[in-house]
């Protein structure tokens, strides 16, 4: 039986000389101890076996309807987001640091949001420039002085972490608006349990299946105390949204109704849903609709996705919207640069998880540095997300760079720049062969009465060789992420 061929794992072309950290192999080419079990299992599988398992996996996703629809001129087709067979494994010690770091970060970011939508002490103390916050498009003046239970603004957060060449994790981006991907974390886990049951059992992997009930209790904890058994709903833009599967999935696993804007009615500042037996009051809305679209009376008037009067009901304290509107100001790419100072300011601690070095183009000195080094930097528009509106200097043509330079000079406040980071690589099954691809890590953090980091994550994969872009809208895929338990007891919890 031929074993699956492994091509030269450390041979990814890189531009700035640093060799990316490989999740499985040391620089010397030895298998890291936490990958040993998987490595042994793979070695016994022929490449046809691997391909067969990959097909079974894809069929599982297709059957479950974990797909997005591509609408064509004549017919529409369903595609699955590519999922890689081989899990990415993170040992207990490394995870402990990530967990502590994210908890610290979320505490500080929630305090920051409570402050800027309250007394604005941090702005008065000059730690973060006032105009940077108040001029940000994601800052919602409507949220000023509004009571948010437990000061938990970002109830669900999905931060993007990357592993740098030295092996240390750093935060690339905080997603505090309506982060998605958690259903892939759960579905990937289902799939990998089927694919590598023996290895999974032997590895003491921490369970992720508590996520839906933890989310539900976080959401219920946001409701007013005097409302027994609060009614929680999931608000979706509808079946045509690319994350619809996730909305339905979470609603089903929480046992909460999945509502659209057209199912809701606001009357006397209370929110109701239209049921078969009349109107029923709603207490907590886990909304998967952007701020801009939740209420045409308060935000975008042309929105048909939300419900008129929702924000007033929220202001009146009759309903809770999760995440709170206006949380986006804390994951603004320019505000991001100040997060270490924000942590220091509120908690008096140094950030456990570092930021990536970030140049603010609004500062003239930093702008000229960015312009001089465009071929080495990644430039991002502060308001954009999903891999759009960015320039990856080393991979861009001279023409693209000069166009971007013009845009930078015209509107410097709109841009930040970061060095091109070599994301770590993990072994992936590509066309029947094992080959390293760049990956990032998106853990999910719940904030309510307390902050909980789910012991799992979505590992996003840049499937194109050498590519650093992991976004699913740009040809990225995902894979299961095994967080190993320190002992057997921890694996159960």
């Amino acid at each position: 039986m031929a074993t699956a061929k492994r091509s030269d794992t450390n041979a990814i072309e890189i531009s700035d000389g640093a060799i990316p950290y490989d999740e499985m192999l040391t620089l010397a080419g030895e298998v890291r101890s936490h990958y040993a079990g998987l490595d042994e299992r793979i070695a016994t599988l022929a490449s046809e076996d691997m391909a067969e398992r990959q097909r079974t996996l894809e069929r599982f996703f297709l059957l479950q309807g974990i797909t997005f629809t591509v609408y064509g001129a004549e017919s529409s087709t369903e595609r699955i987001i590519p999922t890689d067979l081989l899990p990415r494994i993170i040992p207990a010690g490394e995870w402990a640091t990530i967990e502590k770091g994210l908890t610290q970060r979320l505490r500080a970011l929630n305090m920051f949001l409570a402050d800027i939508y309250g007394e604005q002490q941090i702005l008065m103390d000059g730690v973060v420039p006032r105009e940077l916050v108040l001029m940000a498009p994601s800052y919602r003046r409507e949220m000023q002085n509004l009571y948010v239970p437990h000061q938990a603004y970002a109830n669900v957060c999905g931060s993007d972490l990357i592993r740098q060449p030295d092996g240390a994790f750093a935060v690339l981006e905080d997603n505090l608006r309506v982060p998605s991907g958690v259903s892939y974390m759960l579905a990937n886990r289902e799939a990998s349990k089927r694919t590598f049951p023996g290895t999974f059992r032997a590895s003491n992997v921490r369970a992720v299946d508590r996520y839906p009930d933890l989310l539900l209790s976080t959401l219920k904890g946001m409701a007013a105390d005097w409302r027994p058994n609060p009614q929680v709903v999931v608000l979706t833009p509808g079946v045509y949204n690319s994350a619809y599967y996730e909305h339905a999935y979470l609603a089903r696993l929480m046992g909460a109704p999945l509502v659209e804007g057209r199912d809701l009615v606001v009357h006397d500042n209370m929110v109701y849903m239209r049921t078969t037996t009349g109107l029923r009051r709603i207490d907590v809305i886990y909304r998967r609709v952007d701020d801009d679209f939740i209420d045409p009376l308060t935000f975008r008037r042309d929105s048909g996705l939300g419900v008129a009067g929702l924000f007033n009901a929220y202001r009146a304290g009759n309903v809770v919207i999760c995440n709170a509107p206006g949380t986006g100001v804390a994951d603004d790419k320019a505000v991001y640069a100040y997060v270490p100072e924000i942590i220091k300011y509120y908690l008096g601690e140094d950030a456990i998880l570092p930021n990536i070095e970030t140049f603010l183009c609004r500062e003239p000195a930093q702008l000229s540095h960015v312009l001089a080094n465009l071929d080495k930097l990644v430039v991002k528009a502060v308001g954009a997300s999903g891999g759009y509106g960015m320039l990856i200097g080393p991979h861009a043509s001279a023409k693209e760079r000069s166009e971007f330079a013009d845009a930078l000079r015209a509107d410097p406040c709109n841009y930040i720049a970061q060095p091109t980071i070599q994301l770590s690589t993990a072994p992936c099954l590509i066309n029947g062969e094992i080959d390293p691809r760049h990956v990032d890590l998106r853990p999910f953090i719940l904030s309510g009465e307390k902050i909980t980091v789910t012991p799992g994550a979505l590992t996003r994969v840049a499937l194109k060789k050498g590519s650093l872009v992991v976004n699913s809208s740009q040809g990225g895929g995902s894979k299961d992420t095994w967080i190993l338990a320190a002992d057997a007891e921890e694996a159960q919890s």
């Binding site: 479950q64 079946v239 999945l258 199912d263 078969t276």
Partner: protein, 313 residues
Amino acid sequence: MMLARVADSLYWMGRYVERAEHMCRLSDVMLNATLDRSDAATQVARIVLAAVGDNDPEKANSPYDAARALALDREDGGSITTSLSRARENARQVRDQITSETWERLNLIYLRVTGPGAAKAFNDGSSAFLHDIIADLHLFKGAADATMSHGEGWRFLLLGVHLERAQLIGRLLEVFFGDARKRPITDHFALTSLLRMSCALEPYLRRYTADVRPELILEFLMFDEDFPRSIRFSTARIEEHLSAASRYVDAGHAGPERLAGRLKARLQYADVENIELGGAGALLTTVLDECEAIHTAIYDTFVAYSLEMRLPA
């Protein structure tokens, strides 16, 4: 308690699933007829096309193409492919309300029928293709029955199934017995085809033996208490599910459960012995009209009710 929109989607999912199953039988019976005498095939094709409301006389002359179009034509609003796509689209709308087992069944059929291999599979073995869809739809219904809570959502799903079924069988009977002025169809082949289209051949034979007579078929498909495709059976289920679903709604005198109760009683206490073939048309018209009225009343009561009446005081 469930969302009005969700109840609506479950109801339509039931209707489309039932329609797809029925169209599979019509298509299959048409194809089978082409293997027989050519005039019989034309006659069966004419019956089927009349039952689905297609009055193009040309189509009956090429029964194979008609059967193929009924199965795979995406432009045709009544085709199997279209019905399954719509059933699945509705299921996607309420993905959180139906069990994974139920969803998977429907999704599987949908993927096969709309997939690139569908046309070839039909050409290679149309009967097997249609047979598999029917068998899979039975699995779907079985999965819904065995895994979904038999609560409100399941009731709306079955309401859709039974209302659609009553109307489909009603329309089929209308083609045979609807017009008193025309001589009733007594051709043996046509009559057994009618039983096949209603999935009633074997139960009929067990009840009446191989004595295939139009008045007995009418009696069986309209008034039989136990046969699951008789109109009486369906209306009894409609009444049952509607009275359960209406328990918490004050819909007044126009409530759908009242309409359903009346229709059920009409069939239950009909003077079966004295209904002649010639008089069946009037009764069928009444039944179909009342089914339509129940459909409208369901919509007005549970889905598109006026908000003013339901706002908290």
